[in-house]
């Protein structure tokens, strides 16, 4: 989850919650969680690629790199992922 410092743990494995539906839109995507009945937005296609591939990578950092997020851009994605974790859209996954 989000650690006490408020930062997101980029180095552990994550996954999209199974109760979340993803709908691509021209600007990125809409996410809807059927359990919490909350809606979220992904503001661009890269973020969509990151979120969709979280489950295929050993860490969120690896998912970001694979989606082409440059090191300088990583903090923005880290904040976005922290928000998604805070609303339970994504959740920690046990390492394979």
């Amino acid at each position: 989850m989000v650690n006490p410092g408020g930062l997101f743990d980029l180095d552990r494995p994550w996954r999209l919650d199974e109760r979340v539906a993803v709908r691509p839109e021209p600007f990125g995507a809409l996410l809807y969680h059927f359990g919490t009945r909350r809606l979220s937005f992904l503001k661009n296609q890269t973020m969509l690629a990151v979120v969709r591939s979280l489950g295929d990578h050993p860490s969120a950092r690896a998912a970001c790199a694979a989606a082409g997020v440059p090191p300088a851009g990583l903090p923005a994605y880290e904040r976005g992922l922290a928000t998604l974790a805070g609303s339970h859209m994504i959740s920690p996954r046990e390492a394979a």
């Binding site: 709908r23 691509p24 809409l30 809807y32 059927f34 009945r37 909350r38 809606l39």
Partner: protein, 416 residues
């Protein structure tokens, strides 16, 4: 990340609505004086079970996450539960609004067992006295009974939905306490002069002072209390309330009515806001994507008379349905503009001696013709409210449909 704000992106419209309101029937056991859809009697042309299922198939294909089902009273449709089950089996979540008439113990248990169904109980007074004056005798007790069944069945977080009026604006803390008692969430929405609401808006809409108190109360309660983004015209007081604070009509929301007509928003059942019908060739998908009306709504909008106001970026000129049905120009101030420009415009029309009968009327009226239990006969009803002010006459209706708000139960980045 994108430099455009979400609101700017959403103004261009989405591939599918976020919030779709679907009124399943015009039939209702009640006869609320402010009913948005002038419901009462079933329409013989209402969509059949098979046609409703075809609409659900379309919504699944378009990935509409959930529908807000209303009416009329949707649960009086004999196929209501069949349609709810069909929708959830097809990955379309359901939130339905009800006066509680069919929520008995067994139904409550069944609802509590599903992640994909949410319930919204309508209540317009924390006390029977205030509620029943608007919704009919016995309707408060009926709603409370439904809430007790839901709470007993373990349904957490169902919604208690309140239309804020001059009579209940002083009961906000009581509504909140009621929601807390039943493990529910309070939802407050704006009274619109739509449907039969047009007949009682003058007497029921909150005063300017009540609006200010409501705004302060909403700010103090933040995301604990839902508003369906319906009070975005109050953003001109200062800090924006949680939500997108934009009119979503035809951009992120719309209405499918019981006969399959698609309107830009639930508060605008009028031919000026009619985009098409789901029975036509391409179904709902074609209406959403190709309607000329929706294309216009997704285009740029100028502020009109409000464009030079320093608060225009906050309130965006308010609710188009509220303007339309009070006879105000769509590019001018909302009738409840917090700076008082709407009241001035209405007063100006009265002074000019404009003809009240020229007010746009709702396109359809399914009101009960005879007496309804708990309600006085329509037309001779003792007004449920003591305050009576002069009727405002108005000029000819505007000729252009426009943005109306209701991101029903929706907040940016968060709750609905």
């Amino acid at each position: 990340m994108s430099t455009e704000t979400l609101v700017e992106l959403f103004e261009h419209g989405l591939d599918a609505p976020i919030c779709l309101t679907w009124e399943l029937t015009y039939a209702c056991n009640l006869a609320c004086v402010h009913c948005l859809s002038s419901s009462g009697r079933r329409d013989p042309g209402e969509l059949s079970t098979a046609e409703c299922k075809a609409v659900i198939d379309t919504l699944e294909r378009m990935q509409v996450f959930y529908v807000n089902i209303g009416g009329g009273e949707p649960t009086v449709r004999p196929d209501f539960w069949e349609l709810v089950d069909y929708a959830t089996a097809h990955h379309v979540g359901v939130k339905f609004s009800t006066n509680g008439v069919r929520i008995d113990e067994a139904v409550a248990r069944r609802l509590a067992a599903s992640d994909y169904v949410d319930v919204q109980i309508s209540l317009d007074g924390a006390t029977a006295e205030v509620n029943d004056a608007v919704r009919g005798r016995g309707s408060h007790a009926m709603a409370i009974r439904a809430m007790e069944h839901l709470a007993a069945a373990g349904f957490r977080g169902f919604k208690i939905s309140v239309v804020v009026t001059r009579q209940n604006a002083g009961q906000l803390d009581e509504f909140k306490a009621l929601a807390d008692r039943y493990g529910a969430q309070l939802r407050l929405t704006r009274l619109r002069p739509s449907g039969r609401g047009a007949d009682v808006w003058d007497e029921l809409h909150p005063t300017a002072r009540q609006q200010r108190e409501l705004y302060d109360w909403l700010c103090a309660h933040g995301e604990q209390v839902l508003t369906g983004d319906s009070f975005f015209h109050l953003a001109a007081y200062g800090e924006a309330l949680p939500g997108l604070n934009m009119c979503g009509a035809g951009r992120v929301v719309c209405l499918i009515d019981p006969v399959g007509d698609v309107y830009a928003c639930p508060f605008a059942i009028h031919e000026n806001f009619l985009a098409g019908n789901v029975r036509a060739g391409g179904g709902f998908e074609a209406v959403w994507r190709d309607s000329a009306l929706f294309a216009e709504l997704r285009g740029p909008s100028a502020g009109g008379a409000c464009g030079s106001c320093q608060f225009y970026d906050s309130c965006r000129g308010g609710c188009m349905a509220a303007k339309f049905f009070t006879g105000l120009p769509l590019d001018g101030p909302d009738p409840e503009c917090v700076r008082g420009f709407g009241e001035q415009a209405l007063a100006g029309q009265a002074l000019a001696g404009a003809d009240r009968t020229a007010l746009p009327r709702p396109g359809l009226d399914h009101s009960h013709r005879g007496p309804v239990r708990g309600q006085a006969r329509r037309g001779q009803a003792p007004r449920p409210v003591p305050v009576t002010i002069g009727r405002r006459p108005v000029p000819a209706p505007p000729d252009r449909a426009c943005d109306i708000n209701p991101l029903a139960g929706f907040a940016a980045g968060g709750t609905r």
